[in-house]
Symmetry: C2
Subunit: 216 residues, 2 copies
Protein backbone atom coordinates (compact mmCIF):
# COMPACT_ATOMS: atom_id res chain seq x y z
CA UNK A 1 0.00 0.00 0.00
CA UNK A 2 1.34 3.39 -0.98
CA UNK A 3 1.48 6.31 1.32
CA UNK A 4 0.97 9.89 0.21
CA UNK A 5 4.06 11.41 -1.30
CA UNK A 6 5.13 14.99 -1.01
CA UNK A 7 4.03 15.71 -4.56
CA UNK A 8 0.29 15.65 -4.03
CA UNK A 9 -2.21 16.94 -1.52
CA UNK A 10 -4.30 14.30 0.21
CA UNK A 11 -7.88 14.41 -0.96
CA UNK A 12 -10.63 13.85 1.56
CA UNK A 13 -14.33 14.45 1.98
CA UNK A 14 -15.94 16.14 4.95
CA UNK A 15 -19.66 15.76 5.41
CA UNK A 16 -21.96 18.07 7.36
CA UNK A 17 -24.92 15.90 8.37
CA UNK A 18 -27.82 18.15 9.31
CA UNK A 19 -30.99 17.16 11.10
CA UNK A 20 -33.72 18.94 12.97
CA UNK A 21 -33.81 17.56 16.48
CA UNK A 22 -36.08 18.97 19.12
CA UNK A 23 -36.36 22.61 18.25
CA UNK A 24 -32.86 22.98 16.87
CA UNK A 25 -30.76 22.43 13.81
CA UNK A 26 -28.04 19.97 14.74
CA UNK A 27 -24.98 18.41 13.15
CA UNK A 28 -23.74 14.89 13.64
CA UNK A 29 -20.08 14.83 14.66
CA UNK A 30 -17.58 11.99 14.62
CA UNK A 31 -14.97 11.39 17.25
CA UNK A 32 -11.43 11.86 15.99
CA UNK A 33 -8.01 11.58 17.56
CA UNK A 34 -7.78 15.34 18.04
CA UNK A 35 -11.37 15.94 19.14
CA UNK A 36 -14.77 16.18 17.52
CA UNK A 37 -15.02 16.80 13.81
CA UNK A 38 -17.08 16.10 10.75
CA UNK A 39 -17.47 12.60 9.35
CA UNK A 40 -15.30 12.05 6.30
CA UNK A 41 -11.91 10.84 5.25
CA UNK A 42 -9.65 9.96 2.35
CA UNK A 43 -11.11 9.41 -1.10
CA UNK A 44 -10.12 6.14 -2.74
CA UNK A 45 -7.92 6.27 -5.83
CA UNK A 46 -10.71 5.15 -8.08
CA UNK A 47 -13.64 6.27 -6.03
CA UNK A 48 -16.19 8.80 -7.15
CA UNK A 49 -16.39 11.86 -4.90
CA UNK A 50 -20.09 11.50 -4.14
CA UNK A 51 -19.65 7.79 -3.55
CA UNK A 52 -16.80 8.42 -1.14
CA UNK A 53 -18.89 10.86 0.87
CA UNK A 54 -21.79 8.44 0.95
CA UNK A 55 -19.56 5.54 2.00
CA UNK A 56 -17.91 7.47 4.78
CA UNK A 57 -21.22 8.68 6.09
CA UNK A 58 -22.49 5.11 6.32
CA UNK A 59 -19.29 3.76 7.83
CA UNK A 60 -18.95 6.45 10.44
CA UNK A 61 -22.55 7.22 11.30
CA UNK A 62 -24.72 4.43 9.93
CA UNK A 63 -26.74 6.91 7.89
CA UNK A 64 -27.67 5.79 4.40
CA UNK A 65 -30.06 6.94 1.71
CA UNK A 66 -29.88 10.56 2.70
CA UNK A 67 -29.81 13.66 0.55
CA UNK A 68 -26.22 14.63 -0.21
CA UNK A 69 -24.95 17.71 -2.01
CA UNK A 70 -21.48 18.94 -2.76
CA UNK A 71 -20.84 22.17 -0.87
CA UNK A 72 -17.38 23.58 -1.53
CA UNK A 73 -13.79 22.43 -1.67
CA UNK A 74 -11.58 23.65 1.14
CA UNK A 75 -7.89 23.72 0.44
CA UNK A 76 -6.02 26.35 2.40
CA UNK A 77 -2.49 24.94 2.73
CA UNK A 78 -2.51 25.49 6.48
CA UNK A 79 -5.92 24.06 7.23
CA UNK A 80 -4.27 20.96 8.59
CA UNK A 81 -0.97 21.70 10.34
CA UNK A 82 0.22 18.13 9.97
CA UNK A 83 -0.02 17.63 6.24
CA UNK A 84 -1.57 19.05 3.12
CA UNK A 85 -5.22 18.08 2.96
CA UNK A 86 -7.81 19.20 0.50
CA UNK A 87 -11.38 18.46 1.49
CA UNK A 88 -14.34 18.24 -0.83
CA UNK A 89 -17.13 19.15 1.57
CA UNK A 90 -20.70 17.90 1.34
CA UNK A 91 -23.78 18.42 3.40
CA UNK A 92 -26.34 15.75 4.13
CA UNK A 93 -29.95 16.17 5.18
CA UNK A 94 -31.38 13.60 7.54
CA UNK A 95 -35.14 13.32 7.88
CA UNK A 96 -36.68 13.92 11.28
CA UNK A 97 -37.00 10.54 12.94
CA UNK A 98 -40.74 10.13 12.66
CA UNK A 99 -41.19 7.02 14.76
CA UNK A 100 -38.90 4.77 16.75
CA UNK A 101 -35.26 5.42 17.52
CA UNK A 102 -33.36 8.40 16.28
CA UNK A 103 -29.88 7.41 17.33
CA UNK A 104 -28.31 6.58 13.97
CA UNK A 105 -25.71 4.09 15.14
CA UNK A 106 -22.17 3.89 16.44
CA UNK A 107 -22.24 4.28 20.21
CA UNK A 108 -19.94 7.01 21.47
CA UNK A 109 -18.09 7.50 18.20
CA UNK A 110 -20.67 10.09 17.20
CA UNK A 111 -22.64 12.84 18.83
CA UNK A 112 -25.13 15.49 17.86
CA UNK A 113 -24.33 19.14 18.39
CA UNK A 114 -26.44 22.26 18.01
CA UNK A 115 -25.36 24.35 15.05
CA UNK A 116 -25.93 27.56 16.97
CA UNK A 117 -23.72 26.78 19.95
CA UNK A 118 -21.24 24.38 18.38
CA UNK A 119 -18.43 22.81 20.38
CA UNK A 120 -14.89 23.47 19.19
CA UNK A 121 -14.18 21.33 16.15
CA UNK A 122 -10.94 20.08 14.68
CA UNK A 123 -9.22 21.93 11.85
CA UNK A 124 -11.54 24.25 9.90
CA UNK A 125 -14.63 22.12 10.45
CA UNK A 126 -16.36 24.95 12.26
CA UNK A 127 -16.04 27.09 9.17
CA UNK A 128 -17.32 24.27 6.97
CA UNK A 129 -20.40 23.92 9.15
CA UNK A 130 -21.00 27.67 8.92
CA UNK A 131 -20.75 27.64 5.13
CA UNK A 132 -23.10 24.66 4.94
CA UNK A 133 -25.59 26.35 7.19
CA UNK A 134 -25.65 29.47 5.05
CA UNK A 135 -26.14 27.40 1.93
CA UNK A 136 -28.97 25.45 3.49
CA UNK A 137 -30.75 28.60 4.60
CA UNK A 138 -30.34 30.15 1.16
CA UNK A 139 -31.70 27.09 -0.59
CA UNK A 140 -34.79 27.02 1.61
CA UNK A 141 -35.91 30.17 -0.14
CA UNK A 142 -35.73 28.95 -3.71
CA UNK A 143 -35.98 25.16 -3.64
CA UNK A 144 -37.88 22.30 -2.11
CA UNK A 145 -34.83 21.21 -0.13
CA UNK A 146 -36.63 21.42 3.22
CA UNK A 147 -38.60 18.31 2.29
CA UNK A 148 -35.38 16.31 2.58
CA UNK A 149 -35.43 17.03 6.30
CA UNK A 150 -38.97 15.75 6.74
CA UNK A 151 -40.16 12.23 7.43
CA UNK A 152 -42.29 10.52 4.83
CA UNK A 153 -45.45 11.97 6.35
CA UNK A 154 -45.51 15.27 8.11
CA UNK A 155 -47.82 18.08 9.09
CA UNK A 156 -47.72 21.63 7.81
CA UNK A 157 -46.91 22.86 11.29
CA UNK A 158 -43.87 20.61 11.36
CA UNK A 159 -42.74 21.83 7.96
CA UNK A 160 -43.18 25.42 9.07
CA UNK A 161 -41.18 24.76 12.24
CA UNK A 162 -38.31 23.41 10.14
CA UNK A 163 -38.26 26.57 8.08
CA UNK A 164 -38.40 28.76 11.16
CA UNK A 165 -35.57 26.91 12.86
CA UNK A 166 -33.25 27.15 9.88
CA UNK A 167 -34.11 30.71 8.97
CA UNK A 168 -34.07 31.76 12.61
CA UNK A 169 -37.26 33.78 12.40
CA UNK A 170 -40.99 33.18 12.88
CA UNK A 171 -43.18 32.86 9.80
CA UNK A 172 -46.82 33.74 9.35
CA UNK A 173 -48.89 30.58 9.48
CA UNK A 174 -51.45 31.51 6.86
CA UNK A 175 -48.94 32.91 4.40
CA UNK A 176 -46.67 29.92 4.84
CA UNK A 177 -49.48 27.47 4.10
CA UNK A 178 -50.69 29.47 1.14
CA UNK A 179 -47.24 29.50 -0.45
CA UNK A 180 -46.27 25.93 0.24
CA UNK A 181 -49.55 24.52 -1.01
CA UNK A 182 -49.49 26.72 -4.12
CA UNK A 183 -46.15 25.18 -5.06
CA UNK A 184 -47.92 21.89 -5.62
CA UNK A 185 -45.04 19.74 -4.40
CA UNK A 186 -46.85 18.05 -1.51
CA UNK A 187 -50.26 16.42 -1.12
CA UNK A 188 -52.52 15.56 1.80
CA UNK A 189 -52.57 11.85 2.54
CA UNK A 190 -56.02 11.96 4.09
CA UNK A 191 -54.63 10.74 7.40
CA UNK A 192 -54.47 12.63 10.64
CA UNK A 193 -51.58 12.91 13.06
CA UNK A 194 -52.79 12.46 16.60
CA UNK A 195 -50.44 13.46 19.35
CA UNK A 196 -52.64 13.99 22.33
CA UNK A 197 -54.10 17.00 24.05
CA UNK A 198 -55.01 18.91 20.94
CA UNK A 199 -56.60 19.00 17.54
CA UNK A 200 -55.06 16.44 15.16
CA UNK A 201 -53.30 17.74 12.04
CA UNK A 202 -53.55 16.55 8.48
CA UNK A 203 -50.58 14.55 7.23
CA UNK A 204 -48.91 15.45 3.95
CA UNK A 205 -46.30 13.72 1.82
CA UNK A 206 -43.91 14.88 -0.90
CA UNK A 207 -45.12 14.32 -4.44
CA UNK A 208 -41.59 13.60 -5.68
CA UNK A 209 -39.78 12.52 -2.53
CA UNK A 210 -36.21 12.21 -3.78
CA UNK A 211 -36.12 15.36 -5.86
CA UNK A 212 -35.05 18.84 -4.93
CA UNK A 213 -36.62 21.31 -7.33
CA UNK A 214 -36.11 25.02 -7.83
CA UNK A 215 -39.19 27.06 -7.07
CA UNK A 216 -40.62 30.48 -7.83
Amino acid sequence: MNLPTASLPTLTTDIVPFAIRGERLEVLLARQAAGWGLPGGPIGVDEDLDAAARRQLVEQTGLSDVYLEQLYTFGRPDRDPARRMVAVAYFALIPIASGSTDAPAAGDAVRWAAVNEPPPLVLDHGEIVAVARRRLAAKLLYSTIALQLMPERFTLSELQAVHEIILGEPLDKRNFRKRVLALDRIEATGELARHGGRRPARLYRALRPGQVELIK
Copy 2:
Protein backbone atom coordinates in the same frame (compact mmCIF):
# COMPACT_ATOMS: atom_id res chain seq x y z
CA MET B 1 10.74 15.50 -7.70
CA ASN B 2 8.10 12.99 -6.88
CA LEU B 3 5.57 11.67 -9.32
CA PRO B 4 2.00 10.84 -8.42
CA THR B 5 1.65 7.46 -6.80
CA ALA B 6 -1.26 5.10 -7.19
CA SER B 7 -2.56 5.95 -3.76
CA LEU B 8 -3.88 9.43 -4.46
CA PRO B 9 -5.86 11.15 -7.17
CA THR B 10 -4.07 13.99 -8.91
CA LEU B 11 -5.56 17.34 -7.98
CA THR B 12 -5.90 19.99 -10.62
CA THR B 13 -7.79 23.16 -11.32
CA ASP B 14 -9.76 23.90 -14.46
CA ILE B 15 -10.74 27.49 -15.12
CA VAL B 16 -13.59 28.67 -17.31
CA PRO B 17 -12.60 32.19 -18.39
CA PHE B 18 -15.70 34.01 -19.61
CA ALA B 19 -15.83 37.24 -21.54
CA ILE B 20 -18.34 39.06 -23.66
CA ARG B 21 -16.85 39.50 -27.10
CA GLY B 22 -18.80 40.97 -29.91
CA GLU B 23 -22.36 39.95 -29.25
CA ARG B 24 -21.53 36.60 -27.69
CA LEU B 25 -20.44 34.98 -24.47
CA GLU B 26 -17.11 33.32 -25.13
CA VAL B 27 -14.62 31.12 -23.28
CA LEU B 28 -10.88 31.25 -23.53
CA LEU B 29 -9.41 27.83 -24.33
CA ALA B 30 -5.87 26.57 -23.99
CA ARG B 31 -4.18 24.25 -26.45
CA GLN B 32 -3.39 20.85 -24.99
CA ALA B 33 -1.78 17.72 -26.33
CA ALA B 34 -5.15 16.09 -26.97
CA GLY B 35 -6.95 19.14 -28.32
CA TRP B 36 -8.52 22.28 -26.92
CA GLY B 37 -9.43 22.44 -23.26
CA LEU B 38 -9.74 24.74 -20.30
CA PRO B 39 -6.75 26.45 -18.76
CA GLY B 40 -5.63 24.75 -15.57
CA GLY B 41 -3.34 22.10 -14.25
CA PRO B 42 -1.89 20.47 -11.19
CA ILE B 43 -2.12 22.17 -7.82
CA GLY B 44 1.17 22.53 -5.97
CA VAL B 45 1.65 20.60 -2.75
CA ASP B 46 1.52 23.69 -0.65
CA GLU B 47 -0.46 25.89 -2.92
CA ASP B 48 -3.83 27.35 -2.09
CA LEU B 49 -6.59 26.32 -4.48
CA ASP B 50 -7.57 29.85 -5.45
CA ALA B 51 -3.93 30.79 -5.83
CA ALA B 52 -3.31 27.81 -8.09
CA ALA B 53 -6.22 28.76 -10.32
CA ARG B 54 -5.00 32.34 -10.48
CA ARG B 55 -1.44 31.31 -11.26
CA GLN B 56 -2.42 28.96 -14.01
CA LEU B 57 -4.69 31.52 -15.57
CA VAL B 58 -1.84 34.01 -15.72
CA GLU B 59 0.69 31.49 -16.97
CA GLN B 60 -1.50 30.07 -19.67
CA THR B 61 -3.47 33.08 -20.79
CA GLY B 62 -1.77 36.18 -19.43
CA LEU B 63 -4.94 37.21 -17.62
CA SER B 64 -4.48 38.63 -14.14
CA ASP B 65 -6.61 40.55 -11.66
CA VAL B 66 -9.84 38.98 -12.81
CA TYR B 67 -12.84 37.86 -10.79
CA LEU B 68 -12.46 34.20 -9.86
CA GLU B 69 -14.98 31.96 -8.13
CA GLN B 70 -14.90 28.31 -7.23
CA LEU B 71 -17.53 26.44 -9.23
CA TYR B 72 -17.62 22.75 -8.43
CA THR B 73 -15.25 19.85 -7.99
CA PHE B 74 -15.38 17.23 -10.71
CA GLY B 75 -14.13 13.80 -9.79
CA ARG B 76 -15.76 11.01 -11.73
CA PRO B 77 -13.13 8.27 -11.77
CA ASP B 78 -13.40 7.90 -15.54
CA ARG B 79 -13.28 11.56 -16.45
CA ASP B 80 -9.69 11.14 -17.56
CA PRO B 81 -9.07 7.73 -19.12
CA ALA B 82 -5.33 7.96 -18.51
CA ARG B 83 -5.19 8.52 -14.79
CA ARG B 84 -7.29 9.57 -11.85
CA MET B 85 -7.74 13.31 -11.89
CA VAL B 86 -9.91 15.41 -9.64
CA ALA B 87 -10.46 18.94 -10.83
CA VAL B 88 -11.50 21.87 -8.68
CA ALA B 89 -13.21 24.02 -11.29
CA TYR B 90 -13.37 27.81 -11.23
CA PHE B 91 -14.86 30.38 -13.48
CA ALA B 92 -13.27 33.72 -14.24
CA LEU B 93 -14.91 36.88 -15.53
CA ILE B 94 -12.88 39.06 -17.85
CA PRO B 95 -13.97 42.65 -18.40
CA ILE B 96 -14.86 43.73 -21.88
CA ALA B 97 -11.74 45.20 -23.41
CA SER B 98 -12.72 48.86 -23.32
CA GLY B 99 -9.80 50.31 -25.19
CA SER B 100 -6.76 48.96 -26.95
CA THR B 101 -5.96 45.32 -27.57
CA ASP B 102 -8.15 42.51 -26.41
CA ALA B 103 -5.89 39.59 -27.24
CA PRO B 104 -4.81 38.53 -23.75
CA ALA B 105 -1.45 37.00 -24.65
CA ALA B 106 0.13 33.73 -25.69
CA GLY B 107 -0.02 33.49 -29.47
CA ASP B 108 -1.64 30.35 -30.74
CA ALA B 109 -1.65 28.56 -27.40
CA VAL B 110 -5.06 30.03 -26.67
CA ARG B 111 -8.23 30.77 -28.56
CA TRP B 112 -11.67 32.15 -27.86
CA ALA B 113 -14.73 30.03 -28.51
CA ALA B 114 -18.42 30.85 -28.40
CA VAL B 115 -20.15 29.20 -25.48
CA ASN B 116 -23.22 28.46 -27.57
CA GLU B 117 -21.50 26.56 -30.37
CA PRO B 118 -18.46 25.22 -28.55
CA PRO B 119 -15.83 23.14 -30.30
CA PRO B 120 -15.22 19.64 -28.92
CA LEU B 121 -13.18 19.88 -25.75
CA VAL B 122 -10.92 17.41 -24.02
CA LEU B 123 -12.20 15.24 -21.17
CA ASP B 124 -15.33 16.61 -19.49
CA HIS B 125 -14.46 20.24 -20.13
CA GLY B 126 -17.61 20.70 -22.18
CA GLU B 127 -19.67 19.76 -19.17
CA ILE B 128 -17.67 22.07 -16.93
CA VAL B 129 -18.32 24.97 -19.28
CA ALA B 130 -22.04 24.15 -19.26
CA VAL B 131 -22.19 24.09 -15.47
CA ALA B 132 -20.30 27.37 -15.29
CA ARG B 133 -22.62 28.98 -17.77
CA ARG B 134 -25.68 27.96 -15.77
CA ARG B 135 -24.14 29.30 -12.59
CA LEU B 136 -23.26 32.59 -14.22
CA ALA B 137 -26.78 33.03 -15.60
CA ALA B 138 -28.30 32.19 -12.21
CA LYS B 139 -26.08 34.67 -10.40
CA LEU B 140 -27.00 37.48 -12.77
CA LEU B 141 -30.45 37.41 -11.25
CA TYR B 142 -29.49 37.84 -7.62
CA SER B 143 -26.07 39.46 -7.51
CA THR B 144 -24.00 42.23 -9.01
CA ILE B 145 -21.73 39.74 -10.75
CA ALA B 146 -22.37 41.21 -14.20
CA LEU B 147 -20.27 44.21 -13.24
CA GLN B 148 -17.21 41.95 -13.25
CA LEU B 149 -17.64 41.59 -17.00
CA MET B 150 -17.72 45.34 -17.57
CA PRO B 151 -14.83 47.73 -18.15
CA GLU B 152 -14.20 50.43 -15.59
CA ARG B 153 -16.60 52.77 -17.35
CA PHE B 154 -19.57 51.55 -19.27
CA THR B 155 -22.95 52.61 -20.54
CA LEU B 156 -26.30 51.26 -19.42
CA SER B 157 -26.91 49.93 -22.92
CA GLU B 158 -23.70 47.92 -22.70
CA LEU B 159 -24.66 46.54 -19.31
CA GLN B 160 -28.06 45.59 -20.61
CA ALA B 161 -26.53 43.85 -23.62
CA VAL B 162 -24.34 41.77 -21.29
CA HIS B 163 -27.41 40.62 -19.40
CA GLU B 164 -29.28 39.84 -22.59
CA ILE B 165 -26.42 37.82 -24.03
CA ILE B 166 -25.99 35.69 -20.93
CA LEU B 167 -29.68 35.22 -20.25
CA GLY B 168 -30.37 34.66 -23.92
CA GLU B 169 -33.43 36.87 -24.02
CA PRO B 170 -34.21 40.53 -24.68
CA LEU B 171 -34.92 42.80 -21.72
CA ASP B 172 -37.10 45.87 -21.53
CA LYS B 173 -34.91 48.95 -21.64
CA ARG B 174 -36.91 51.09 -19.21
CA ASN B 175 -37.46 48.34 -16.69
CA PHE B 176 -33.82 47.34 -16.84
CA ARG B 177 -32.63 50.87 -16.16
CA LYS B 178 -35.12 51.39 -13.39
CA ARG B 179 -34.03 48.23 -11.60
CA VAL B 180 -30.30 48.60 -12.04
CA LEU B 181 -30.28 52.21 -10.90
CA ALA B 182 -32.50 51.45 -7.92
CA LEU B 183 -29.89 48.95 -6.71
CA ASP B 184 -27.53 51.83 -6.08
CA ARG B 185 -24.42 49.93 -7.02
CA ILE B 186 -23.29 52.11 -9.92
CA GLU B 187 -23.01 55.84 -10.43
CA ALA B 188 -22.83 58.16 -13.42
CA THR B 189 -19.36 59.58 -13.96
CA GLY B 190 -20.63 62.67 -15.72
CA GLU B 191 -18.73 61.71 -18.85
CA LEU B 192 -20.20 60.74 -22.18
CA ALA B 193 -19.21 57.87 -24.41
CA ARG B 194 -18.96 59.03 -27.98
CA HIS B 195 -18.82 56.38 -30.62
CA GLY B 196 -19.87 58.19 -33.75
CA GLY B 197 -23.01 58.38 -35.72
CA ARG B 198 -25.40 58.58 -32.82
CA ARG B 199 -26.34 60.12 -29.51
CA PRO B 200 -23.59 59.70 -26.91
CA ALA B 201 -24.41 57.71 -23.78
CA ARG B 202 -23.67 58.50 -20.17
CA LEU B 203 -20.81 56.54 -18.66
CA TYR B 204 -21.26 54.77 -15.34
CA ARG B 205 -18.87 53.06 -12.98
CA ALA B 206 -19.25 50.49 -10.19
CA LEU B 207 -19.41 51.98 -6.71
CA ARG B 208 -17.54 49.01 -5.22
CA PRO B 209 -15.65 47.61 -8.21
CA GLY B 210 -14.15 44.46 -6.76
CA GLN B 211 -17.17 43.28 -4.83
CA VAL B 212 -19.94 40.97 -5.88
CA GLU B 213 -22.97 41.62 -3.68
CA LEU B 214 -26.23 39.80 -3.35
CA ILE B 215 -29.22 41.84 -4.37
CA LYS B 216 -32.92 41.85 -3.66
